[in-house]
């Protein structure tokens, strides 16, 4: 029923890193908690929010106790101060324009010990909103209430968890519930949102006015979402961090129906960490026109009727989505449900030390990378949402899975965080991608890859191969071209999906990698970046999509007044 609109709470989906200053970490491995806390208090000086958090932290740690419930062994406060501007235009006119400024607190109180604690169900934390100014009493009041709730919830969760564990026979060497980590003190400058909102509103309106030149296009919208998020973290271990991150994203959307009713659309987006990297107005217009031209071309494009099995070349803007969904999600070391024996969840749960990619490929996630070939990466951060320093992690080496990305929830054989515990504002942290870089020991130029496709289809006596420029939802191709063996010319087609594009295909059928890595900045719980070149699959099935064709509009769009 609703026309596309951004939800008011969508700010919760944005968070990322622009830390330019190296972390001043506590260097010695295990300072006593008291001295760590003293250092934290010293570092908090002058920041009213951090000071209020520490006062309540101290008070709660010292005094929270109900008979027959243990006192907390760990308390953590994370505050995300979000300053968010969002605007959307449709058909040349502004439709949404909003500013959100909110501070979200998440409190985690753990009772028990590192080995087994209350982090379960409601014991995973409480969320609250905090005052926008630094009035100490008003701030502390909300922190106090949320802590009280979190402690009581932890007490109940601990009992529930122990009851649940009784269903399973005891594991001889279960992994701990919570990984120990050295305290980190890193107070970075805060960031704020400084954008020319009026000018961006105008740009969005102007670029969506292009619909007037494209009678075949049904819908044209454009949106901008700019965020500055300051993250504050304090814990009873003595960790105290503050860092600020900005993200700027602009998205264009166009949709149309083919004469047969098939829905066609494109939604190119830009996401950067530095506003000056957003496209200039002229570039944005050129890109918008290209988007509209391709949607118009798609309307005329032939439908993929015949099943095809052969080489398919993915451009970087399509390959990144494949890597994100087939590899990126599976290298996260997520602890399985209580009682489940697997190392982690997902298809790579049992793939440790097994080959998951061709042996010429490697994957590293390096959140400390701030930019790549001059382009900002939004997945960069210095300290993760659990107060652990970011680390480069080689997850796949020469095709073999050698590690997982981990937060402070250990999994079998991987007992420490490697600085990948990240969270969206107000939500619990989990292992997440930072800056995932796809590497290959052998790379080829785009033209060479294309030639290889042509040679392969010639050899296989096929009239054409395929290349994909960009993907839509569910890894279905948005822009798919046939490359003809005869003369190398290309033809845009529509209505196709890939069959069995899965971890087996990427392990066994990926035969070559391009030399054209693209920085793909991605929104989500915690923003991440994938740096990925073109990928050539030696064999992949392309078949007709099994989607219904919607009816065309029952009457024509309104004629233009202006």
């Amino acid at each position: 029923m609703k026309i596309l609109r951004q939800t008011t709470l969508a700010f919760a989906a944005i968070l990322f890193a622009l830390c330019a200053i190296p972390v001043r970490a506590a260097d010695d491995a295990k300072p006593s908690t008291d001295s760590a806390m003293a250092a934290a208090r010293a570092a908090a000086k002058g920041d009213g929010l951090l000071e209020a958090l520490l006062i309540e932290l101290d008070r709660s740690k010292a005094q929270l106790k109900i008979d027959q419930v243990q006192a907390p062994y760990y308390i953590e406060y994370r505050v995300n101060e979000i300053d968010d501007f969002g605007a959307e235009a449709a058909f040349g006119a502004l439709r949404e324009n909003q500013h959100v400024h909110v501070r979200v607190l998440r409190v985690v109180v753990r009772i028990g010990d590192y080995k087994q604690d209350s982090y379960f169900g409601r014991g995973q934390g409480e969320t609250s909103i905090l005052p926008l100014d630094n009035d100490p009493i008003a701030l502390r009041h909300q922190i106090w209430l949320a802590t009280d709730d979190a402690y009581k919830a932890a007490g109940q969760a601990f009992a529930e968890k122990q009851a649940a564990l009784k269903q399973f026979s005891a594991d001889s060497s279960p992994v701990d519930d919570f990984a120990k980590a050295s305290p980190v003190i890193a107070v970075e400058p805060t960031v704020s949102l400084k954008v020319d909102e009026a000018s961006w509103r105008k740009t969005l309106e102007d670029v969506t006015s292009l619909y007037k030149q494209y009678p075949d296009i049904q819908s044209v919208t454009a949106s901008a979402r700019f965020s500055a998020i300051n993250e504050y973290l304090v814990s009873s271990e003595g960790t105290l961090t503050r860092n600020g991150k900005t993200t700027y994203s602009v998205q264009l959307n166009a949709s149309a129906q083919a004469a047969d009713g098939m829905r066609l659309g494109r939604s190119p987006a830009y996401m950067v960490a530095r506003i000056e990297e957003l496209p200039e107005r002229a570039t944005l217009f050129a890109d918008a026109k290209k988007m509209l031209d391709t949607v118009v071309a798609l309307r005329q494009a032939p439908i993929v009727e015949e099943e095809y099995r052969g080489p398919v070349l993915f451009a970087p803007d399509a390959a990144d989505d494949i890597v994100a969904s087939l590899i990126g999600q599976n290298v996260l070391g997520r602890k399985p449900q209580l009682g489940k024996p697997n190392r982690t969840t997902g298809p790579f749960a049992t793939s440790y030390k097994s080959r998951v990619l061709p042996n010429f490929m490697s994957l590293v996630d390096d959140p400390t990378m701030k930019e790549f070939r001059g382009k900002s990466v939004v997945g960069n951060y210095a300290v993760d949402s659990e107060g652990v320093k970011a680390q480069a992690v080689n997850v796949i080496e020469n095709g073999v899975l050698t590690n997982y990305l981990l937060g402070r929830q250990p999994i079998r054989d991987f007992l420490d965080s490697n600085g990948h515990g990240r969270a969206a504002p107000g939500s619990f942290p989990g292992p997440s991608l930072g800056v995932l870089v796809v590497k290959s020991s052998e790379v080829s130029a785009w033209d060479a890859l294309k030639q290889r496709v042509i040679q392969m289809v010639k050899d296989q006596d096929k009239p054409y191969g395929y290349r994909v420029e960009t993907l839509g939802a569910g890894n279905s191709p948005r822009l798919l071209y046939r490359i003809y063996a005869k003369d190398g010319h290309e033809e845009l087609v529509r209505g196709a999906v890939f069959n069995e594009l899965d971890i087996r295909a990427i392990r066994n059928d990926l035969i070559a990698v391009g030399n054209d890595p693209l920085v793909s900045n991605r929104a989500g719980g915690a923003p991440s970046t994938i740096i990925c070149p073109s990928l050539l699959f030696g064999e992949l099935e392309v078949k007709r999509a099994d989607t219904s064709k919607d009816k065309l509009p029952d009457y024509p769009p309104p004629p233009l007044v202006k």
Binding site: I66, Q68, V100, I129
Partner: protein
Amino acid sequence: MTISESSPTRGSLCTRVTEFLRVTACCALAVQLAAAPAALAANDKAAPLPSVPSPVSDPVLKAMQTELARATTDLGKTEQAPYFLSYTVYDQDFVILVGSYGSLLNNVSAQRRQADVTMRVGTPELDNTHGQSRPSGVSSGTLPLGNDQDAIARVLWELTDREYKRAVPSLLNVRTNTAVRAEEEDKSPDFSKEKPQTHVGELAAAPPLDRAAWEGEIKRLSAAFRKYPEVYLATVILQVQNSKSRMVSSEGSAITSPSTSARLVMEAQTRAEDGMDLLRVETFQAPAASGLPSESDLSAKIEKMATDLSALRKAPIAEPYDGPALLSGRAAAVFFHEVLGHRLEGHRQRDEEEGQTFTKKVGQEVLPKFLSIIDDPTIHEMAGMKLAGAYDFDNEGSPSRRVEVIQDGVLKNFLMSRMPVKNFSNSNGHGRNQPGLMPTGRQGNLIVTSSQTVPEAQLRQKLIDEAKKQGKPYGLYFDDIQGGFTLTTRSLPQAFQVLPVIVYKVYADGRPDELVRGVDIVGTPLAALTRILTTGDQQHVFNGVCGAESGQVPVAAVAPAMLFSEMEVQKRAHEHERPPLLPPPGFEDSGATKSAQSKSEVKP
């Protein structure tokens, strides 16, 4: 079918997540307040001639009319032409400030423009909105904010086409269902015929909101709660809204209704040692923020709220009871809203899932003879208070009207939208909805009047007399309530509940009144209504937000205090979480809440 002064949840705001949601719900509330084309000075009558619309200067209205005409013509050529099409565009421009303990938790301003496209295919006798298919009558979306007619028309077209593609299959379903199912008892048509209306509402521009001054005031007011360590949840919320709704229909209606409103809600909560959450809410309403009570008046209210909560914390829990009861005017108003008002909503008289308590009682006595009830959205103010349920046109474009529902105890009429019921074939201007939903008959300002009154001051003595007469040790006095709800369907018992917050035992033997807590008034409608003995001589107003099938709409209920020969109360369900363990910030040394540690039990 709930009514409340503030946010819909009561009590169990024990988790902070809820608190977070509650604040976001406030945003929703502000949006909802514009649902009804609300308060404006109704100084002109609707023009009777729709066929000659006056020249339109409002570009938005013009775009709506042009696009509506085009859609009507173009879709008129299709196989299944709509017989009715309307566009309603809601402009909402609002500011929300939420203060707590001296700081702002939320400071939001936003502009929205939403369009509802309502379409009916088939015939007025049987159309796509019949029975359970009612939601198929409307599609909604966000419209561009400015005056760009091309953009507005384009989005309206998208919505209209989408709605058409919903309405047509729905009609097919309706026809099949009607053929397959047993004949319905009430064979009324689905849509009444009404005279089209044109109206351009004028409204003196509200004085601009002095936002900085209000930010200061909200902070100061909320800081007043700092003095009370037991009041551990407190918010002061200001919602100021300028709205404009525009409606055009294929019948020729064109109505513009601007409105402004300012609403201040103060909520304070504590928790008794047994875990019962205790809540006090005060709300104030005015056309503009400048019309809200002065800061000193509000501060005085805060003192009162805190004192009440402190007394309530210590008050004993009342036992289930059936005996004489005195309801204050506000309590009686909510009682009538729930027990009677919802059951007189027109659509409930034909829906075969409904209990239809009063459907066949027209012309019969349903109340004591000395009581009469009207629902009159044309009244804007009463007993010195602005009425929240006032509007000039309902959401179907029918002019609001005073409806005498019960006269001298005899049921005369129902609250009608354009959905006819047996023997009531026309709207009486009570078709209301929140944006995005289909309208149904709803209450506006429900006003109970009485011809058998005693001065209010004497009611307490009357209660004592009645208790003595019945041989009861005490009667109950319900001083203030926070809201209520009722069930009207057949699948569940016909019941209502009113949620009192301040209740006293008034002893027959002359002991001082005793404050009690933890009771809800319960009962069944027909029994409860016949037990009213007498009423007070002054009208009291309850302004609230009422939720039902067609969404949240602002309403008022007005009634005098009432003495009941019998009223049943039950124990209130409540959480058992103990109060906060540590003293609140600022009271660290008081040791006030250390008592929690001395108790031993905790639930596993």
